[in-house]
Subunit: 428 residues, 2 copies
Amino acid sequence: MKRNLVVQKFGGTSVKDAERIKAVAQRIAKTRESGKDVVVVVSAMAGETNRLLDLARQISENPNRREIDLLLSSGERVSCALLALALHELGCPAVALTGRQMGLLTDGSHTRARIKQIDGARARKILQENHVVVVAGFQGINEQGDVTTLGRGGSDTSAVALAVALDADLCEIYTDVSGVFTADPRLVPDARKLNQVSFEEMLEMASLGCKVLQIRSVEFARNFNMPLVVRSSYNDNPGTLIVKENENMEQPVVSAVTSDTDQSKITVSGVPDQPGIAAKIFSALATGNLSVDMIIQNVSEQKHTDISFTLPKSCVTEARAIMEELVPEIHAGKVSCAADISKISIVGAGMRSHPGVAAKMFETLSAEKINIMMISTSEIRISCIIEEQHTQRALESLHKAFRLELAESTETETNKAETARERKAAGS
Amino acid sequence: MKRNLVVQKFGGTSVKDAERIKAVAQRIAKTRESGKDVVVVVSAMAGETNRLLDLARQISENPNRREIDLLLSSGERVSCALLALALHELGCPAVALTGRQMGLLTDGSHTRARIKQIDGARARKILQENHVVVVAGFQGINEQGDVTTLGRGGSDTSAVALAVALDADLCEIYTDVSGVFTADPRLVPDARKLNQVSFEEMLEMASLGCKVLQIRSVEFARNFNMPLVVRSSYNDNPGTLIVKENENMEQPVVSAVTSDTDQSKITVSGVPDQPGIAAKIFSALATGNLSVDMIIQNVSEQKHTDISFTLPKSCVTEARAIMEELVPEIHAGKVSCAADISKISIVGAGMRSHPGVAAKMFETLSAEKINIMMISTSEIRISCIIEEQHTQRALESLHKAFRLELAESTETETNKAETARERKAAGS
């Protein structure tokens, strides 16, 4: 009979020192003793990736990405070797595997490679011998045999991809928070852990600045219908289950409120209101590989209009330069920037069947005298750009307006206590 | 026309931080600009291997050697990636390769693997493209594809083996001293840097506690007649050339004096003087994988004798236990240990043709009232075990007796000044 297989991924804070590594090993050993096969995916010890990047920056301002991948991949090799040692120490047989040994083949795009294929033959053999497999996350190799990495948070994607490749029953993502929350507990004191969200909701949240999971890992899980659990490595609480939306699922109208202050707005004013001008602006940005988020175009007054768009703060210098260059060519006026903006979003699968959600969001912000500068929506999300200084007030008022502080029926007292503890810890 | 190829190996202190890595990069770039092809072999940044081992020890007292190899190999991956970045920064094209990418295949003996084969195809291709190859030292892979390491100082062996595999003209070992000395400058103020020694002399010195080179790297160089240079990464002095002995070579009777205080003596007294008893003692030690250095057996008095032998201090507990167990079986008396001993040796290829060297050594020690406890010799070496407290006096008097402070004819004033500076630095 096929045994249950679970993939457990532990982030950097979960393996930050020898003590935490031993604690994680105990959790893994316990899972194995419960009769399951276990594959573990591990990130670099907290701080290690930054230490290595800092060394590289002392040497080169614009380091070659192939060498950066070789450099960074060492971090996960250290943590997976140490975790295997900690498992041996508990009498739990374990074998550490690098991305290469796991057979994780990627494309050639260094520092942000995409997974092409996972062989997994060696992992399967090790599992058959009843050993735990400990895999270095975040890394693979390209077809030339060079080390590649999957980008920040790539270990999440490694874990989900391995779970899919090995036909696991579940993929657990262990981190330093108890799960996915209705809002960032550091900003909204009433934030509550969610017991369950759909892949779609999680995707929207991940793209809106909720940093619990790398967005690609959620896409992967959704595409292959691999159930995910996000939970804390510091306690035994059940965490948040992320699954395919189904009819039995409770569908709150709004599941969470998020904010993203890593946003800047660029406005090009006095743009001639002629066909093809907007296309010129945005194809110039696309050529610069800059990814624009929201776009707004004012109603035309006489023959000119203003075009505004938002993008991540890190792209603003480059985007501004491209616009300054384009302005004479398109006979526009001037370019201006605003960095003190914030994107506030509400997410919920239930929005589809509940009209009036947008109106309620706008009313709530209006009652707080918060001006909405831009709006964008998806089927299950509404986002507004506001002034950054109002971020917390916007979050709290929306959290209250949509009654997110109210416990789901399955919320337990233990969870609530835990949530309270974490909120305190995060605030300290 | 084939270009000159030089392999340059840099030890941990030579790449201990970003500044030193940049300095090493400049030296490599200069060598390349002089028209040579360059392959660089690099150790882990100073302190890194110990930091990783310490982490492992916090987790496991007796860590699995396969996982230790995976752990330790990350150190050289970091330094070779950083060094390649530093070369790029100087406009010097360079590609970092791991032991695996270099095609360095070893046996399966983790933490002390031996090199079986080096493919080197990828390195050759990179050299043809006129790029520098930067190789992670100390590491290879076994036939299963698992990472192996070559033991402490293994990067020296990596460098010499690569030099042989790629048919290099020269292998340069860069370290924090100016070369090989007539004695340890920290112990003998008159010690002088040697301009040239033979492989055989260097082998004897390496096995006698002169830690400039890993002994296996010298064996490799001798077996394949690969000229070695030991020199400092802090200056441009020519260092010490290590080559095959030849007729043109200056052959001082004694080239160097060495001491090794990592020695212990075990004596089994009251051993029945019967055939086969000594064999029992030493085969018991061999079974325990303990490598005995010197052996002495007293002249038999009546039907019993005493047998003494020396071995490294780290082996003494185990050796003593084995002897204690054996004593009843062979009807011997008791086992005693002495850890306060030292091995003093003189090494010189000229000994072969100069009788009376041993006598002069014994006379010198006798004049200093230093008692000789054991003696062993090879064709080009004489070693004496003495009390540890006399180590420095023995070294100084032998250094003087064999006139090692006298400069070779090729010794330059610059070298002398450098030697003086280093002596001072080592003493501080």
